[in-house]
């Protein structure tokens, strides 16, 4: 019985550190005056968080009443901590370059760093929460922090984007809460009153006994609710604007991490549903949402003139593919989708790093105004080429492998479903290639060289390189440990 467990993890357990570090540093950074120093303090704290997350791998703590760690969320915690770290690094170098975000007043910068940490904190809480309510609160809080960061520039566009983001996600989150309550209602007769009926560790084993009809209703609400945050079409509207108008490092974490966290929440509920055999199969709904996201984003990509929006839509596309794969189900598809979550997080954030530097250098986000980067800025341009080709699923990168496995599983299990998937991928690929060629090739539109000292630019390029190397390694030689780990999770997902 979970009531006997302590509410919080023991102070000496790494989990406590993983959660406490961002919270504390958020508080500290909120008061830190000097912007430059704050940026690097930010980096240090994220490094510490990442180390703590790694420690979790070694010594996974026992579940507490509100928090727990299993292989699934551990995977995402490590990923989140890592990308958080590299993004903090990038943002430090990015701010040091001056340019676009220089118009930020010092207090805004302070606010920015504090919010960055707070954002990390909320995501980590959402991932490790053992309580559906806590998880919900955390996701909501993540929304609020990012809303503030999106509106950071105070431009009308930013305000509008944040407004859209806030309204849509609050409503979505409200629906998600209703779903959560329904799950409680389904569980309460079996698990009795109180926190039991909301604790994952208690819910999962007893899921079979729950009232299936309630679970059906619950899943619909959760799907629409958390699906909004995942950015599934047609609930995706907030995503491109939020990505486009906020500071680029934030776009990177939004795409790379927040979407994963929301997806994690969704998947937890799916696990519950599949654990209870009697419900309607959740698969078809997921497949449907996945395909609609894939195609909507695929077509949208052709009409994008704003480079950050372009890649925001590509995030929608990838989320669609992942959700599709989970909908197909089966160990192979789940494995592939889990792998793809990580690959997409790493690659997409790398893409946004590149895009950030490019927009900063070019002073514009309009694709039409940026041409021939490989000529004017070889390192940046070729970096973009590699990153985009990677996200487009070209070998020998990890994205290729995960997409290969997903398609393979789809073809093997439901060939007729695989055809639209393949077509959708082709569609999106065409658009990305079109934009990539006009960005990277052709007569250059920018003067060589850019703002900020060269060294800083290299420093800013390093995280991208790191991500791409990791993706490459995953593609060429996926570590056996990781594979085994993912297989385990895939089994859990059923």
């Amino acid at each position: 019985m979970i009531d006997r467990l302590p509410a919080l993890p023991a102070a000496d357990s790494p989990l406590a550190w993983v959660l406490a570090l961002p919270l504390a540093s958020a508080a500290v950074l909120a008061l830190w005056r000097d912007g430059r120093g704050a940026a690097w303090a930010n980096v240090l704290s994220t490094i510490a968080t990442f180390v703590a997350a790694l420690a979790l791998l070694v010594a996974p703590p026992p579940p507490s009443r509100l928090f727990f760690v299993d292989s699934f969320n551990l995977y995402l915690v490590v990923l989140t901590a890592f990308v958080g770290m590299t993004t903090a690094w990038f943002s430090a170098a990015y701010l040091a370059r001056g340019g676009e975000p220089a118009k930020l007043a010092p207090h805004h910068l302070r606010f920015y760093h504090a919010m960055f940490q707070a954002f990390l904190f909320t995501m980590l809480v959402a991932l490790t929460a053992n309580n559906t309510g806590v998880m919900w609160v955390a996701v909501e809080a993540a929304t609020l922090t990012t809303v503030l960061m999106v509106s950071l520039y105070r431009t009308p566009e930013a305000i509008e984007a944040a407004w859209k983001y806030f309204i849509l996600c609050s409503v979505g989150i409200g629906l998600a809460l209703f779903g959560t309550i329904l799950v409680y209602l389904a569980a309460q007769p079996v698990l009795g009153d109180g926190a039991n009926a909301m604790a994952w560790t208690e819910l999962m084993p007893r899921a079979a006994a729950f009232q299936p009809d309630l679970l059906n209703l619950a899943f619909v609400f959760v799907l629409v609710g958390y699906g909004t945050k995942v950015g599934l079409a047609p609930l995706h509207a907030w995503l491109p604007d939020a990505h486009a108008e906020g500071p680029t490092p934030i776009s990177a974490v939004l795409s790379g991490l927040l979407l994963n966290v929301a997806l994690y929440a969704l998947l937890r509920f799916k696990m519950l549903i599949s654990a209870n055999g009697a419900t309607l199969a959740p698969g078809p709904l997921l497949v449907l949402m996945g395909l609609s996201s894939l195609f909507v984003s695929g077509f949208m990509l052709y009409r994008r003139g704003d480079v950050k929006r372009l890649f925001a839509y590509s995030s929608i596309e990838h989320m669609g593919v992942i959700v599709f794969a989970f909908g197909i189900g089966g160990p192979l598809a789940n494995f592939a989708a889990l792998l793809h979550m990580a690959m997409h997080a790493l690659t997409k954030s790398a893409v946004f790093f590149a895009v950030g530097l490019i927009t900063q250098t070019a002073g514009t986000k309009r694709i039409a105004d940026i041409r021939g980067l490989t000529v004017s800025h070889p390192a940046l341009g070729w970096g973009l080429v590699v990153a985009v080709l990677t996200i487009a699923g070209m070998p020998p990168m990890g994205v290729f492998v995960s997409e290969f496995l997903m398609l393979g599983a789809a073809f093997a299990r439901h060939p007729l479903l695989a055809v639209p998937l393949a077509l959708g991928l082709l569609l999106a690929f065409g658009a990305l290639l079109l934009r990539l060629q006009s960005l990277a090739f052709g007569p250059p539109s920018l003067a060589p060289g850019g703002n900020g000292p060269r060294g800083v630019t290299l420093l800013a390029l390093l995280p991208m390189g790191l991500h791409l190397v990791l993706v490459l390694v995953a593609g060429v030689a996926l570590p056996a440990v990781l594979a085994a780990w993912l297989r385990g999770i895939a089994e859990m997902l059923g």
């Binding site: 407004w163 509207a237 949208m300 490989t374 070998p395 073809f411 060939p415």
Partner: protein, 671 residues
């Protein structure tokens, strides 16, 4: 082991190429390295091909845990390694001299080794993931070289179309492999071979045709070839056209003959039809092109079509329980693959030399090059005669074999074959004859007569670099050799096809060495060797006798041209490419190629010649692809409205989704 080592060198070369920067020497070095590596691979492949022995296989500890990268070198792979690396070596060697002519050196040299790496890896792959990874990698590397001269809009467009078609092909192949692998995801070929069931074939065959066909350039998926091949620098176009298409055919053979046990004859028939269509369509378009490299690309479509005919026939025979004839058809197809790899590479290299010397790719700007570039001219002559399938060169032997197989086609029970095969044979014959016309035109206009432009007139002032000359000479010699000793080649090939065709077969069965007598001496026989010897003897006699009459030596004078006045015999009075192919355009009409002719007549009595200009569009492009793009654009416009809803609109969407799902649940709970 040797192979692995050689392959491992290639990425290093790529890095070197990246580092090369402005130093021309380094670029040359990389090219040389590529040449050496290809030679090594060539030797290794040939060694296994001739030496035989069990196929060496191993699993590299990379890729997905539990799967790894399976590699295996069986006789088929070995054969294709020869097919790939022989032209590759020539092209790379050629590049050493060509490096100074490369428009964007730094965007080519790094990717050339990677391209070679990809192609060889495809041949060695023994599981689906490795295969497709290498396959896509190959496309990627070649794409980078297609867009290497990236400032030209048309090249970027070509790159766009090319890579999209490549991905399309990959997706289709992926589907084929996935169906073979089954839900369990047994990706390695050995398991697939064992598990291949009749049910799966129904899905595999079409997917394989689409996948490999799009890469090989079978109609109507050929549109990217004439765009991409001219865009790339000549040595690369040579590799793409002469070699990469062969890799695609390898995929087809591997899937349909090896992995899938037995394909129903209908698919063979389909392949034959597609092949004959590609052959005729390809050559007809080649016949009317003005751009030399585009012409060559279209002729690739034709030759791939010929090979496809052979493969399809082999499938049909195999299913019809005639392994011997299947082997014959397959040998013919493989022979043609080898031949096309040699002469198409040769011709592209020659085109590169011409472009380097004159800066011209349009036939209408060339002429009289044989006098100015004797090496290139002679090599190109041999290549043209070979691709026009004239004896005693290699092109003829393979077409002869395929024709012989076709002539036995009606012996198959299905009536569709009885009536269809003659038609296919007619198409094949037609395409062969048209190919002759096409290359008479191409060669005659580019290399013979008098120069049609100043650049052409001044060609040959800078002699072609030795490396370029030698690589062309080597390929030309191969064209002769492969034609002169056909039996030796067919014996090697028939060893390769035994496991694929499902039966042993000696192509030169009963007459012995120099006589090629496939279905038995009574059936029909051919001997390139004898023809060469007797022909040379007669030629010698003729020459001797003709001069023995003691007539004076030939004297040079201005051409007569039915009494054209002195000095008025301008080069413009010669036939232009357009006027040469005008009869064919008239005859085969605007249906096959929407040709729009415009004639600009000078004033009566004015000096300038009348000009006939022709605009050509591939109807497949207009009929199939353009509408597709339009549709995508239209839908994109519609969908794009989603971007400009109000918040209320988005909420409405959310609300609708929710209510819809709830309705679904309600409905499902009822039922």
């Amino acid at each position: 082991m040797l192979i692995a080592l050689a392959l491992a060198v290639l990425p290093v070369l790529a890095v070197l190429g990246l580092a090369a920067g402005r130093f021309e020497g380094t670029h040359r070095l990389v090219a040389l390295g590529c040449a050496v590596v290809s030679l090594v691979l060539l030797v290794a492949g040939a060694g296994h091909l001739l030496g035989g022995g069990p196929p060496p296989a191993m699993v590299l500890p990379f890729g997905l845990p539990g799967l790894g990268f399976h590699v295996r070198l069986d006789s088929l792979s070995a054969l294709f390694m020869v097919v790939v690396d022989l032209p590759a070596a020539a092209a790379a060697f050629y590049t050493i001299g060509y490096a100074s002519h490369l428009p964007e050196r730094r965007r080519v040299t790094p990717f050339l080794p990677l391209f070679l790496f990809g192609m060889n890896a495809v041949l060695l792959a023994d599981d689906a993931i490795t295969f497709l990874m290498a396959w896509e990698f190959m496309s990627l590397a070649s794409w980078l070289m297609v867009v290497s001269d990236h400032r030209l809009e048309e090249n970027r467009a070509a790159g766009q179309v090319y890579l999209m078609m490549a991905l399309f092909g990959t997706l289709c192949l992926l589907g084929a492999f996935a169906v073979l692998a089954g839900p369990a995801g047994a990706w390695d070929f050995a398991t697939m071979r064992a598990a291949a069931s009749g049910a799966a074939v129904a899905a595999v065959a079409p997917l394989a045709l689409l996948g490999a066909g799009s890469k090989a350039g079978l109609a109507p998926l050929h549109v990217w070839l004439p765009l991409a091949h001219p865009a790339a620098p000549s040595p690369v176009s040579a590799l793409m056209s002469g070699v990469m298409t062969k890799v695609a055919l390898y995929a087809l053979v591997r899937l349909l003959f090896d992995l899938v046990g037995r394909v129903p004859w209908e698919w063979g028939a389909v392949l034959m039809v597609i092949g004959s269509l590609s052959a005729v369509l390809g050559v007809m378009h080649a016949l009317i092109q003005d751009d030399l490299k585009r012409l060559l690309a279209y002729s690739t479509v034709e030759n791939i079509g010929i090979v496809a005919i052979g493969l399809g026939l082999a499938l049909a025979f195999k299913d019809g329980g005639e392994p011997a004839l299947a082997a014959l058809a397959l040998v013919g197809a493989l022979y043609h693959i080898v031949n096309h790899a040699t002469f198409k590479t040769l011709l592209f290299l020659a085109a590169g030399a011409v472009q380097a010397a004159t800066g011209e790719r349009r036939l209408s700007g060339l002429g009289g090059l044989l006098k100015r570039m004797p090496w290139t001219g002679t090599a190109a002559l041999i290549g043209s005669l070979a691709i026009a399938s004239l004896p005693p060169l290699n092109g003829f032997v393979s077409e002869w074999l395929i024709l012989q197989a076709l002539f036995k086609g009606p012996s198959l029970p299905p009536w569709a074959m009885k009536f269809g095969v003659p038609v296919v044979a007619a198409m094949l014959a037609l395409s062969a004859a048209l190919a002759a016309a096409c290359f008479v035109r191409a060669y005659g206009i580019a290399f013979l007569g008098r120069p049609r432009s100043l650049a052409a007139a001044q060609a040959g002032q800078h002699p072609t670099p030795a490396t370029m000359r030698w690589s062309m000479a080597a390929l030309a010699f191969l064209c002769l050799l492969l034609g002169a000793i056909p039996v030796t080649v067919t014996d090697v090939l028939s060893a390769v096809v035994v496991p694929l065709a499902g039966g042993p077969f000696q192509v030169s069965a009963d007459l012995g060495w120099p006589w090629l007598s496939p279905v038995g001496a009574t059936r029909g026989s051919y001997s390139g060797t004898v023809l060469v010897l007797v022909g040379l003897a007669l030629f010698a006699i003729v020459v001797v006798v003709a001069h023995a009459f003691g007539a004076p030596r030939a004297r040079r004078a201005e051409a007569w041209d039915c009494g054209c006045p002195e000095g008025l015999l301008l080069p413009e009075t010669q036939y232009t490419p357009q006027s040469f192919s005008q009869p064919q355009r008239r005859v085969f009409g605007s249906t096959l190629f929407a040709a729009v002719e415009t004639i600009e007549m000078p004033e009566p009595g004015a000096r300038p010649p009348a000009r006939l200009s022709v605009r050509l569009i591939d109807p497949v492009w207009d009929g199939l692809y353009r509408p597709l793009f339009r549709a995508v654009a239209a839908i994109a416009d519609r969908v794009n409205r989603l971007q400009s809803f109000t918040v209320r609109g988005y909420l409405l969407l959310m609300f609708a989704t929710l209510v819809l799902m709830l309705l679904v649940v309600a409905w499902r709970q009822r039922s």
